[in-house]
Subunit: 430 residues, 2 copies
């Protein structure tokens, strides 16, 4: 089919009619589908059920160093878990603190601590007239929710194919000591699926922030979440690179096993310099006696080591890959060449980022909803929920069964077509 | 033996010599014993090993309401866990929010939230010139550590046999709107083991604090931790009593299964009014997607219901009771009638509170340490680690095996005798 803008008004009006008929046919099916959140599917969850068997009532729950995982103690995690998570995120075990079940919670606590107690002796952020964060967009809504909750001003930075616009990042952090952080999802980013290039990582490590307490919040959420065996994104490790660049304390790296074992029942961690770790542990020792060591041990015994985890991730990939490919195939079939949309083609992670014509995202999401397909709210990928161009929609293909997903993707494309035709016709009327 | 003060200086000097000999004999045994922390013993931990079997790879991890515990979601806990914990702490399930593995963490987060965001619309505490907490003493060191960490001024309130000095509490909270809270361990208190009387609970519920955002921090740590079947402390339920008294929002009640299942791998909760719950959930939704539901389900399936939990607690009691009784017996034998010490005789909980002669606690703890027995640091039971009279020592009989415990208790009594003789002789010299 010709690109929409190259079609006559008459052709588009005719098209609109046939699209409306197809839409009504979808509505009559009373669908109830969800492409909103990055949740693993039931099939993926089944992959980890063996985890329920690795500890039994006759198991010895003692660590290699003699710690009884069943009792109090061990503030920063058992050694075996540090090793496993360290290998997973390419950081030495002794730069790791193991937390509870959620890396989001670790990020929240990290900001909360900076608010009330500052970072390594800096003024607590709650006592400053202004605190600002850079937010590569589109990005992760739950990151933005944390900074918004604490009244931190968020500044949009465009996310390019190879990472955030580093010219802008460098300029901003050097100029304004109220800028205390930047949210990053460096690998298979949420929602674009793109990964930061070597140059971008190197430039991050060499930032010259005006604020001594500026930190890069490096959310390594999808570090081992590849879709392909033979075509994977590889990143420069940021902690080592910061150290090499003379900025050893500038980064907090976060990770969890949420989309490896069970979301909500995994283990989370922070990796950072020893200076930062000391700073964190002063607070952590007040907050808790220790996190769930039995669950740490359960993870270690289930995966064995990083190779076991990598094998496990291939099983996830085998389930996710056809879903991503099906959605991308339908996008290409239904929207390719129409000049009304762009989208990413990730090699890992949980999302596809979709850009409609400006001003169309909200209308598309609303149309989908009316026909029974729930998407992430338009705007969610921007701070304050405001996408200035109303273009971006996050597509989450992981949860629905493949056939449902195809149906949802078809309806989605239909809605994109409908809303785009309307938009172009309105333009011509105006 | 005669009370020390009734003995002549000569008699005491002679006594001192023989005590020193006994002390040297202890030293030559190179003991390594610990009566410092309220940790369950290995034998107690073994009671919960069945918990490792209740979920297996072929188990259905679906809740009664259809929630898959393995996936994201459910901010405030699964219904079954709310019911179990609700029954445990005598509060309706719909007043409960289930958290992660540690009630200490819940308390910390509660204070942290009040610091940055206030309580139900009040001014964030970090913006106030002063924030104060009342601290019944002796009390729990980790409570005091939280308030100290946030720069909250702590005011000592004497803890009597039936609870805190309520005349003082009533007067202070009514007079000063900087007083925002009070730390309470109402049942089998840490460290006294005493419980609040009905009158004390009623007076708590009827407090007229000057601060609208004053809250009672009711740490129900030992609610079902009885030592005896037929002689148990029963308290008036504080949430219901506050509601009846027209102060429905005045209390946060905390609890966990740390000393029921596994410390560090249990589940924790807050119980409070719906207004407070709404206030909390606004923050919680930013902090996390949800806590560990698999572990919640594991607890529910293991205990079944509150009756299963009560049966389980009888097994704990059967292990703890002889330990408490052995220590109390040795105290009575070694120190009874000497006029140099007082101690509590708890019917539950994890501690015995011991009061030496004024100025003797630190010296006793140091002496014990030199002979290989570690006690909770003297002063730990007071804010800022300062016991104004240097009298109080917390005794934790739970962890050591019975025979070790007896040895430790004997050494402890010997050290009390030694330090007391020295103190009285010094007095006479002066």
């Amino acid at each position: 089919m010709k690109a929409y803008r190259e079609q006559t008004t008459e052709e588009l009006q005719k098209l609109r009619q046939s699209l409306h008929e197809r839409y009504r046919a979808f509505q009559s099916r009373h669908l109830e589908l969800n492409m909103a959140r990055g949740k693993p599917s039931d099939e993926q969850l089944n992959l980890s059920m063996g985890m329920m068997d690795v500890l039994a009532s006759n198991s010895d729950l003692t660590c290699e160093d003699g710690t009884d995982c069943r009792n109090y103690g061990v503030l920063d995690g058992i050694a075996e878990a540090k090793q496993l998570i360290g290998d997973m995120i390419e950081v030495p075990a002794d730069n790791i603190i193991i937390y509870g079940n959620s890396s989001l919670n670790v990020m929240y606590d990290t900001i909360a601590r900076a608010m009330t107690h500052g970072i390594m002796g800096s003024t607590p952020w709650c006592r400053l007239p202004a605190v600002k964060f850079l937010c590569p967009v589109p990005g992760y809504d739950r990151h933005f929710a944390i900074t918004e909750y604490f009244g931190i001003e968020m500044i949009n930075v465009p996310m390019n194919e190879d990472g955030p616009d580093m010219d802008l990042v460098e300029r901003l952090v050097a100029a304004d000591d109220a800028i205390k952080g930047i949210w990053c999802v460096p690998k298979y980013s949420n929602p674009t699926g793109n990964s930061y290039s070597d140059e971008v990582v190197r430039r991050f490590a060499r930032l010259k922030p005006a604020a001594r307490d500026f930190r890069i919040f490096w959310d390594n959420a999808y570090g081992v979440h590849h879709l392909y065996d033979d075509d994977q994104d590889e990143l420069i490790e940021i902690l080592a690179e910061c150290k090499a660049a003379g900025n050893p304390d500038m980064v907090y790296k976060f990770a969890s096993t949420s989309k490896i074992s069970f979301p909500g029942s995994g283990i989370a961690a922070i990796a950072t310099s020893h200076n930062n770790m000391e700073d964190i542990k002063k607070q952590l020792a007040i907050q808790t006696i220790g996190h769930d060591k039995v669950n740490q041990l359960r993870h270690v015994r289930f995966f064995g080591d990083i190779n076991g985890m990598k094998r496990h991730m291939r099983l996830h990939a085998a389930i996710l890959r056809p879903k991503f490919e099906a959605v991308l195939h339908i996008f290409e079939e239904e929207l390719g060449g129409l000049g009304i949309a762009e989208w990413t083609r990730p090699k890992g992670g949980y999302f596809i980022s979709f850009d409609a014509l400006p001003g169309c995202a909200k209308a598309i999401v609303a149309r989908c909803k009316k026909a029974g397909v729930v998407l992430t709210g338009a705007g969610a990928t921007y701070p304050y929920g405001v996408d200035p161009q109303d273009r971006n929609i996050r597509i989450a293909p992981s949860y629905p069964p493949l056939e449902d997903l195809k149906t949802a993707a078809e309806l989605f494309c239909l809605c994109v077509q409908l809303v785009s035709v309307d938009a172009i016709l309105s333009e011509r009327e105006a």
